[in-house]
Amino acid sequence: MSEQATPLWEVFIRARNGMSHRHAGSVHAADAEMALQAARDVYTRRGEGLSIWVVPSAAIIANDPDEKGEMFEPTASKIYRHPTFYELPDEVANM
């Protein structure tokens, strides 16, 4: 293939105000403006969004899934971070 590859962009869409942007998929486009237009055509044909973010895929930094054990270990060993760790006296109905 003699042609140069067209860059890849990740697409995030806010479905409505009050919601956060969520990853919808990706598109190929030469620049940011074309990426936004392509994202609109590909991912919002039925009123799926009010706001679109596009981010160059190469700019996303991700953790290594092979090391997710070490990465997320601290969360598993701190059960006192959850309200269910604490027993309430019976007299206290709700807290």
Partner: protein, 327 residues
């Protein structure tokens, strides 16, 4: 839309770490989704790249038989509906290419595989759309068969494929309904229009049944796909579901289906049907169907004619980037 790639020979497994393989299979058995950066056997990756990309190619080539009717749609309403449907098919192709790319293959390579004939697409798109009723019959039968295939794929073990299929299935039901609606409208018309509907169904019924791939007794290669939970039902099971769903719809429409062996088995509640012409099926897969050459010619032309647009867009982007860094 179309999953005949599932029927291709299994990819050679190579040597894999037994422990990793067992852990991988255990994840699948627990119904965990596999995500792109997770460890996976090379054969799983290859099978998925092939299946997802062939599915994407089918969506893209599938725009051609319908595009044939855009300029001749009988009303502005039908033209707008048809354009929206074709745009969806293009969109489905793009969701699927993106899913395939997460497995480490580039869009350019995938498109190249289609255009050089290395990758296949569904046999159904090598049939012509000869009259306006074909547009309705494609929606009703072809998209109907696709939905049967695709709903179980929403639960596929590979996350990106499963998510793409969920989006696609949501949109696909519009496709089937608009097709049926078109046929209902024609059946309310003149005797000639009714004959057009019957003619379209006569020609597309068997090719639609072939979309599910060869009979289970001739399809030896789906064991891995079943084990990996890419595929959840066999070809014959899905074909039977489709026939059972479609026969009552044909009755409501007021047309007959071109199968003299079609009869209800009172005991099982299933409609028994005849065998599709498998020689025709294999011949079409091999590239000798009615429209194979025309479809590839049209795809290659569209790709080549678009080259200057892609080049211009990249040249413009490079120029803008250079300007920005200089400022």
């Amino acid at each position: 839309m179309y999953t005949q790639a599932l029927n291709n020979p299994a990819v050679e497994a190579g040597v894999e770490d037994e422990e990793k393989l067992a852990a991988f299979q255990a994840r699948i058995d627990r119904e965990e989704k596999i995500e792109p950066n997770d460890w996976m056997p090379a054969a799983y990756r290859k099978t998925l790249v092939r299946q997802i990309s062939q599915h994407a190619h089918s969506e893209v080539v599938g725009m051609l038989p319908e595009g044939n009717w855009v300029t001749r749609a009988p009303s502005l309403k039908r033209k707008a509906i048809l354009l929206a449907k074709i745009q969806d098919e293009g969109g489905h192709g793009l969701y699927l290419y993106s899913a395939a790319e997460t497995l480490g293959v580039s869009r350019e390579e995938l498109v190249d595989q289609l255009l050089t004939g290395k990758a296949k697409y569904s046999s159904i798109f090598n049939y012509p759309t000869l009259n306006w009723a074909d547009v309705g019959a494609v929606g009703w039968l072809v998209d109907g068969a696709a939905i049967m295939n695709q709903i179980p794929l929403c639960r596929c073990s590979f996350g990106p494929y499963s998510r793409a299929m969920i989006r696609i299935c949501k949109e696909e039901s519009f496709h089937q309904r608009q097709g049926y609606d078109l046929l209902v409208a024609m059946m309310k018309g003149t005797a000639e229009q009714q004959e057009m509907v019957q003619d379209a169904v006569n020609r597309l019924w068997w090719p639609a049944l072939m979309m599910f791939g060869p009979s289970d007794k001739d399809s030896k290669h789906s064991a891995d796909s079943m084990k990996w939970k890419i595929k959840r039902f066999t070809n014959d099971e899905l074909r039977q579901k489709f026939v059972d769903a479609t026969v009552p719809q044909a009755k409501v429409l007021g047309i007959s289906l071109p199968d003299p062996d079609l009869k209800l088995n009172e005991e099982t509640g299933h409609w028994e049907h005849g065998e599709p012409d498998w020689d025709e099926f294999y011949n079409t897969i091999k590239g000798n169907g009615i429209c194979n050459k025309q479809r590839m010619k049209d795809r290659i032309k569209a790709h080549e004619d678009g080259a200057w647009v892609r080049e211009a867009a990249q040249a413009y982007a490079a120029k803008q980037a250079a300007k920005k860094s200089a400022a």
